[in-house]
Symmetry: C2
């Protein structure tokens, strides 16, 4: 078979690394988008996840071919959900980033920040519903009562289940 300049390199492991990197980026782009996070955030995390050394922002932007604006924003998001941490590299002013590979922490932060607040407001809303219904003797009162009851159970179950789920994900 014909040697191909782009895939055969001196060390031969460089292309393997690139392959892993690409699979990783692809994987995390999908996964982050499942969590509602933008493409660039998935790309950055995917790159860092398979990087043995911490990378500075400008290298991340260059490797992914995205703007430093996006990169800065994406790193901010990833920091906020504790999906990355920065490592100090002596003699280099730039911040260097490493992927946090403990998914447990990642998910529990996500659940805590994104899901639980909604559950909180749901509780208030259900109280309001009960108040509205309480004073109104409509014919279909039973129907409404049951619906409110189901909503209540849903939010209660979620409130208990989600934190438990986060704990189970000790990977």
């Amino acid at each position: 078979m014909a040697p191909d300049a782009s895939s055969v390199t001196s060390t031969s492991s460089a292309s393997a690394k690139r392959d892993l990197e690409i699979e990783s980026i692809d994987f995390f782009v999908r996964m982050m988008s499942l969590l509602g996070l933008p493409r660039s955030v998935g790309e950055i995390y995917g790159l860092l996840y398979f990087s043995p050394k911490a990378l500075p922002m400008d290298q991340i932007a260059a490797r992914l071919d995205i703007s430093i604006g996006s990169t800065s924003q994406g790193l901010k998001t990833l920091r906020s959900i504790k999906a990355i941490r920065s490592a100090y590299i002596p003699g280099d002013r730039r911040d260097h980033y490493l992927a946090e590979s403990e998914f447990r922490r990642l998910f529990s932060t996500f659940i805590k920040d994104e899901i639980l607040p909604h559950l909180e407001s749901a509780k208030d809303r259900i109280s309001r519903m009960e108040k509205v219904l309480g004073s109104e003797p409509t014919e279909e009162k039973d129907f409404y009562k049951i619906r409110i009851e189901k909503l209540k159970r849903l939010t209660q179950a979620s409130g208990r289940l989600l934190p438990a789920l986060a704990k189970l994900l000790k990977l």
Copy 2:
């Protein structure tokens, strides 16, 4: 206090119903958006969830003040995740829709259709990663091995946990 034509009606429970409806729509718009579904889908489900009688498409569009195009699309989505079902009303040609209030079914369909396919493709991807790595004796091989191992555990855990979660949500 001054009587207000729009909120005081002959039965007085009409406004209570409207209040519940609004809270419900608001609730489900948020919840559906958490699942990545468009606003209109949440509105439709929220309306149906607190409707004691099945509603036809044109009434749904009118009450929510959205186009029948959106309504048709939204109903299609909701049907596909089994969140609603249609009821036959004698003497009326139109399809009438009811909310499926068993959240368990709703979630398990959602998990099965939206999440599990991703997990499937993740398995393939991980096999590819292992193949790439296997033939490459790099120095950092241990690092890559560990990362791949973690990914594998994540997908395995999710594959086991998510269906279990769906079952637990018998509300």
